[in-house]
């Protein structure tokens, strides 16, 4: 059985979901960004209103167009940042 992906929620995404971290089982052949979002919104409907403003990161880098997510990856939901 493939390793799950680890999903981290920050700031408003964490508030919406109510936790900082969850795991999702992921198919061996991996997921596109669109499929990952389907799974995320299915598991956490509270994310729906954030979908348009949240960027995804994989293993500490913003997800590039066309990237896939594989078992064992660390995915993070990055709401609009406000550092400084």
């Amino acid at each position: 059985m493939p390793a799950p992906i680890r999903v981290l929620f920050f700031a408003s995404a964490r508030d919406a979901v109510g936790c900082a971290e969850r795991t999702l089982p992921c198919a061996e052949e991996g997921w596109t960004e669109a499929i990952l979002w389907e799974h995320l919104l299915g598991a956490f409907p509270a994310l729906v209103p954030l979908r348009a403003s949240v960027r995804l990161a994989k293993n500490h880098e913003y997800l590039m167009a066309g990237s896939r997510i594989f078992p064992g990856d660390e995915v993070a939901l990055i709401p609009p940042v406000s550092g400084g």
Binding site: A11, A57, E61, A76, S82, G84
Partner: protein, 127 residues
């Protein structure tokens, strides 16, 4: 370009600095927590950081900016957790031969910080 980055929950202590013989410009920026948000007086802001990614993105931004605006050294310290009003949430020091490169780098860095680095103001503490 020397790059030093720190993310810390502690009050920011600007590191002692000894510029090189060819350093002609030292720019320091501190972003302080202001005492009000909209009309409401506050006593502190809570910052959250995705630490490994923030460190990585900060370094990537600075490496690219250093190629466009050659400076000698950049130090960035961002505090997280609760930051009281009047204290810096961020400290940036840029050392360069001339002020032009330093100002350009600092300005562009702050813009990119505020669009790309996973650090958030997550809450404020009312007075």
């Amino acid at each position: 370009m020397d790059i030093a980055i720190a993310l810390t929950p502690d009050p920011i202590q600007p590191p002692i600095h000894s510029p090189g013989r060819e350093t002609g410009a030292v720019l320091e920026f501190q972003g302080l927590v202001r005492g009000s948000e909209g009309e409401v007086a506050i006593s502190a802001l809570q910052y959250e950081v995705y630490e490994p990614m923030a460190g990585k993105v900060l370094r990537e931004i600075l490496e690219k900016l250093g190629a466009a605006h050659p400076c000698q050294a950049v130090t960035v310290i961002h505090r997280y957790g609760l930051v009281p009003v009047g204290e810096p949430a961020i400290f940036v020091r840029v050392e360069s031969a001339h002020r032009g490169e330093g100002l350009a780098l600092l300005e562009e860095f702050m813009k990119q910080l505020k669009t790309a680095v996973p650090i958030w103001k997550v809450a404020s503490v009312k007075c």
